[in-house]
């Protein structure tokens, strides 16, 4: 993008040089010093070659060279006063470099954006006004054109460079996501399956192998949630996929069942449901007994989203609620209820001895 802009500046400079040459050839008969007119053209030609060559490489685009560019252009504009008769100048005749002076403004715009462009433009305009000591209509129009070239040109270059940087970032992000997915697929196809296998066969062998199996199983679910987490797209429009939040809770003791599609909920209720379900599962681990299994069911009937957490642990009777409170169990129930109340939902707890405990969390859809 920047390279193309510098090429545009070079092309403009050559065309403007040709235009200045045509004007000097046509008008030199009227000049006070025709030879000085030819000399000025020679200076422009030599300076054009120098700048085009320097600007073609990034290392040649030095600030001092661009300032010198503007100074040379302003000097040539001022030299008009020495070459042309004063009567023609105040009548609005073109300056010696004419539009060639604008090429230095464009160089400022490409290098320094709108600020640089406007800065260069002011120098050239100041030189123009100083040279004429008057403001005929044609000069006023030219001033506006130079300001547009510097300001708008610089702005467009800046926009272009930003768009290019954004596209570059997007391409890099896409490449890194693709790479992450490729790694996730690889892990999924190899490491996860072997870990699952070790977990399965080890559990059946029993003894020490069962302990290794348990560890392999834990690593499998941790790794699985890590890899599948990498594939979960970021929330869209403030909505979160509740299924995506709850699935990582699954493991050797916990089964999470969801609909096939995403269960989209606003940020707050989705987070509250996931946190409450996590608390309920912690509670199962602590109180339901060592062998207890737990199941999490996510349902979305269009009017409400329900998350049920059931375990097949020890359970308790209503009469033992006080006891449960003493054991810290009710505190958790109150905390779960509080989380749901905050987002306009409900939580209810059911239990009977030997039948386990079920917590039903429900948030209505608005």
């Amino acid at each position: 993008m920047a390279e193309q802009m510098w090429r545009v500046v070079a092309v403009f400079r050559v065309l403007a040089l040709a235009y200045a040459a045509v004007l000097i050839t046509r008008d030199h008969g009227n000049y006070a010093h025709p030879a000085a007119g030819w000399l000025a053209l020679a200076v422009m030609a030599v300076w054009s070659v120098i700048t085009i060559a320097a600007y073609s490489r990034p290392r040649g685009r030095q600030t001092w060279l661009i300032c010198a560019d503007v100074a040379v252009a302003a000097g040539l504009v001022l030299s008009t006063r020495l070459i042309e008769p004063a009567s023609q100048i105040s009548a609005g005749a073109p300056t010696i470099p004419s539009f060639w002076a604008v090429s230095s403004v464009l160089a400022c715009a490409v290098a320094g954006g709108p600020i640089g462009g406007l800065g260069g433009a002011s120098v050239i305009i100041a030189a123009d006004i100083a040279e004429r000591q008057a403001l005929p209509q044609a000069t006023l129009s030219n001033i506006v054109l130079v300001l547009i070239a510097g300001g708008v040109g610089g702005y467009i270059v800046q926009l272009g460079l930003r768009a290019e940087a954004a596209a570059d970032r997007a391409a890099r992000l896409e490449a890194s996501i693709a790479e992450r997915e490729r790694i996730a697929r690889g892990i999924h196809d190899s490491v996860l399956q072997v870990l699952a296998l070790v977990a399965t066969r080890g559990r059946e062998l029993g003894g020490e192998a069962a302990e290794l199996a348990r560890l392999a199983g834990e690593q499998e679910s941790a790794l699985r949630s890590l890899v599948s987490g990498a594939a979960v797209p970021p929330p869209e429009g403030g909505q979160l996929d509740l299924a995506g939040l709850l699935e990582p809770l699954g493991g050797s003791r916990v089964t999470v069942s969801c609909p096939a599609g995403a269960v989209l909920l606003a940020d707050a209720p989705a987070t509250a449901l996931a946190a409450a379900a996590g608390e309920a599962l912690d509670n199962v681990r602590r109180h339901a007994g060592g062998d207890a299994q737990a199941w999490v069911l996510v349902e979305d009937d269009g009017t409400a989203v329900t998350v049920s957490v059931r375990d097949n642990g020890l359970g308790f009777t209503d009469g033992r609620l006080a006891e449960a409170e003493a054991a810290g169990r009710l505190g958790v129930a109150q905390s779960i209820k509080g989380r749901l109340r905050d987002v306009g939902g409900t939580a209810c707890l059911r239990s009977s001895p030997g039948q386990g405990t079920e917590v039903e969390l429900r948030v209505p859809r608005l």
């Binding site: 996860l192 072997v194 699935e247 069942s257 069911l297 269009g302 079920e358």
Partner: protein, 233 residues
């Protein structure tokens, strides 16, 4: 349930260690491993050559989707039972394969004894309903109910209200079926559900199986309708 010596199983998985270990485990348990395959095309060829009773199908195949393999396997041999084995996090793929006609679904982290029991149930033609599958099926019925009559309420659709008449092909769950499926999804076994609802375990199983058969018939009808609309025979 047929004796294991007549139980011929085809193991399809793209991961060789898994494939061979499962095959070895099945043979140890007395089943006959009719063959193994690493991708969908190979599975179709081996199934045609060896005519197994049950196909143990991994969803994560390099060449085709699990639903595609299931559909083609059953088109070639409608008596075949396809048991889906999948890693978690592929819910839509599992549902697609199930509605394409698979008999059951197990997660790969299941114990080998569960896998063996599932293969035996599948061979006997019984749907293998894990809690995960029950959750998927419940979700699918809700999606169908929500998608077909927006705004009119699914409950009144069956009475043929003033608006569009209810689509007779759209499957619905009875209240009892919903109740049973929810209990399965919450991890209760058939005997536990039977005791809770005062039903026979056989009735519970029939309810569960019906929910899947209705979805599979609906899926088949959709495919036929799509084919007719596209001018295919």
């Amino acid at each position: 349930m047929c004796p294991d010596s007549e139980l011929r199983v085809l193991v399809v998985d793209d991961h060789p260690i898994w494939r061979h270990s499962v095959a070895a485990g099945l043979e140890e348990a007395g089943c006959v491993v009719a063959g193994t395959a690493g991708d969908g095309a190979q599975a179709l060829r081996v199934a045609a050559a060896t005519r197994p009773g049950v196909v143990l199908l991994d969803l994560n195949l390099p060449d085709m989707s699990g639903a595609e393999v299931t559909r083609r396997l059953l088109a070639a041999d409608p008596g075949l039972r396809v048991l889906i084995l999948s890693a978690s996090g592929e819910r839509q793929d599992v549902l697609d394969a199930m509605t394409a006609g698979a008999t059951g679904y197990l997660v790969k982290s299941a114990q080998f004894s569960e896998l063996l029991a599932a293969v035996r149930s599948a061979a006997a033609g019984e749907a293998v309903f894990t809690p995960g599958l029950a959750g998927l099926v419940l979700g699918e019925y809700r999606r169908l109910a929500a998608g077909a009559t927006p705004g009119t309420g699914a409950g009144t659709a069956g009475t043929g209200g003033p608006g569009r008449p209810a689509d007779p092909a759209r499957p619905r769950l009875t209240e009892r079926e919903t109740e049973v499926l929810r209990l399965v999804a919450k991890g209760m076994t058939y005997p536990e559900i039977a005791a809770l609802l005062v039903l026979s375990p056989r009735t519970v199983q029939n309810h569960v199986q019906n929910t899947l058969i209705k979805l599979q018939l609906h899926n088949k009808a959709q495919l036929v309708r799509y084919a007719l609309e596209q001018g295919l025979e």
